[in-house]
Amino acid sequence: MNAMSQTQGLQLLNGNHAVALGVMLARPDVVPLYPITPQTPIFEKLIDLSEKGQLVTELLTPESEHSAMASAIAASATGVRVFTATSSQGLLLMHELLHYAAGARTPIVLFNVNRTPAAPWGFWPDQIDSLSQRDTGWIQLYSETPQESLDSVIQAFRIAEQVKLPVMINHDAFYVSHAMEPVAVPTQDQVDSFLPPYRPEMYLSPETGCSISAPLDQKSWNLSRRQMAQAMAGVGDLVGSVGQDWGRLTGRGYGPIEQYRTEGAELVFVTMGSMCGTVREAVDALRGDGIRAGLLKIRLFRPLPEAALRAALAHVPCAIVLDRNYSPGMGGVLHQELKSALFGMSGPPRLHGLLAGVGGVSVSCATLRKLAAEYLLAAPSPDPVWVE
């Protein structure tokens, strides 16, 4: 039996509805939710699935994202599987508790729809909302398509629950969240065979009486971070093995990074999220023009798969990082991360950091072809460059 025939077939779904179906199949016990544009279709679809009896879970709809995350943490600490979803302002309101969730080692899965934060107000795809949460201790995945978003939700629970760290999956506002495409929805049996019920060894229980997150001394707090570092160190390999298992089951494998036509490449675009789709098209066109271009897609941003990135760029003379985000006073976050990851590497690529698509402006295939020609042989600049 081939992988395709094991699925229910293709459904036309937008990214957010694909996420909701992935959540349903993962059987979370508690789902605290607060609505925010453009996450709302996830919220509404989950409510709808619950009303129809297809999703059996404790739905909790509090007054804010802050309380949603507080409930998520407490429920997870009580030993059950928890999902929540948000975007932009909502994620930023959760900030304090994002640190808490990671520190308390609660394996929550959160879906964030990347959107510009205020001010000024905007509702456009931009990844600075989640990238600015990179130091909170969450594993971060970025998704390119509705299919990948659905598949990543299910994989995320296995990753989170194995290393006891929360996972945040991100896809771009509207480009992925609201755009429809055919999605293969796995069967419940497939997901059940892939994702066993969550049975933690430690949780809040009257039978043990053990408390969680009580104040402690400096040395013990320090130890808590060393233990998180240890857990983080294994995440890259785990994302790879979980993605391979998923591939065996469904025919759709995943890893921490993905390389598209990078063999013998003289130029590689490095980016995350929906931008990858346009880059694939540009790569094909550039190859047709005789420029050996490729795409290095980063799926796992935290922990950054540094060894894999160095290996992928080992013999590449030119790399162009496309950042759909801007860290004021610094530049593109991915550009900075890449510079750090490639530090000390012998024969590193000429690395260009381009601020492309900040605030949701469209970056077309034609723009990318123009950029490739412009930067292929140019000397790299340490400063970020705004793409017109």
């Binding site: 605290p32 309380s67 409930s71 997870s76």
Partner: protein, 295 residues
């Protein structure tokens, strides 16, 4: 003389780090024993969190999650939902917070939990200020009381949390005092038997924060009740008020004079406080009705 007869199954242990003479520890002992062993707790940053103990020690035999200051009621909701998902609807969820975590920064989460009528028992240890951080005013600090942020006395009145909660029409709200331990235990036990959101506000005279002598916290709490400053009441379903204790046996001066936070008051100030008290008492009496609701 009242014989104190609350049950004690050693769920609260000695060796905790409350200040010597602190009545919050006393109230906690009664509450923890009254809720029983089938309980999961949530505690906001507060004196209660300190008394419960630093890792890896705990002064209680029930598990607590030490949550964040503004989200006690949301955290308690999360614990409750998880227990429901696990098929444990009868396990009590006990939520402990101070007045800062309840009247101020945690009010939004508490209002939301109350609106959803989450099945939690929420205890507010009301020491009328941020005493754990050295004594600053909260919105529970009464008129004229001196604190670190109101050195000349607070210019506005204590927030009436009971009326705010009553407006949510939750099944049970009560006030209690460490001077009336049987009453406190009875209210906790009563609340435990009710499904939905229950809130008990326990007055905690803070020794350093209020400037009370080390041996006088119980006496101060009793004076608060007997002077009518902190009447012991119950509100069911947000509309049925009953006064369990407000003898008005003591003049307000007997209460104020025990505390340094009021030592700067003039006669005019005291007179104004007395007038305010009469007014508040009138409002409460009308709510409770005149038909023998008072003990």
């Amino acid at each position: 003389m009242e014989r104190i007869s609350y049950k004690d199954d050693d769920q609260f242990c000695s060796g905790h780090v409350a200040c010597g003479g602190c009545v919050e520890a006393l109230a906690l002992r009664v509450i923890i024993n009254a809720v029983g062993p089938d309980t999961v707790g949530v505690v906001a940053p507060s004196c209660a969190a300190v008394i419960l103990g630093g890792h890896p020690m705990s002064s209680v035999s029930i598990p607590f999650i030490h949550g964040t200051l503004e989200s006690a009621a949301a955290s308690a909701s999360g614990v409750k939902r998880a227990l429901l998902a696990q098929g444990r609807p009868d396990t009590t969820v006990l939520c402990l917070a101070g007045d800062g975590g309840t009247y101020d920064i945690g009010l939004q989460a508490l209002s939301s939990a109350a609106e959803r009528n989450e099945d939690i028992l929420y205890i507010c240890f009301d020491n009328e200020g941020y005493m754990n951080t050295g004594g600053q005013k909260s919105s529970s600090t009464p008129l004229n009381a001196a604190t670190g942020s109101t050195p000349s006395g607070k210019l506005t009145a204590k927030k009436n949390l009971i009326e705010i909660l009553a407006a949510h029409r939750i099944p049970y709200i009560a006030t209690a005092s460490p001077s009336h331990l049987n009453d406190l235990a009875a209210k906790v036990e009563k609340a435990r038997g009710i499904r939905g959101t229950k809130v008990i506000i326990v007055l905690i005279p803070c020794l350093p924060g209020w400037g009370v002598a080390d041996d006088s916290a119980v006496k101060t709490a009793r004076m608060a009740v007997e002077a009518g400053v902190f009447p012991l009441i119950e509100v069911t379903d947000g509309v049925n008020y009953s006064i369990s204790e407000s003898a008005r046996a003591q003049p307000i001066e007997a209460y104020l004079s025990l505390q340094k936070r009021y030592s700067h008051l003039s006669r005019a100030d005291i007179s104004r406080l007395r007038d305010n008290l009469d007014q508040e008492r009138g409002i409460l009496s009308r709510r409770a009705g005149d038909s023998g609701a008072e003990a």
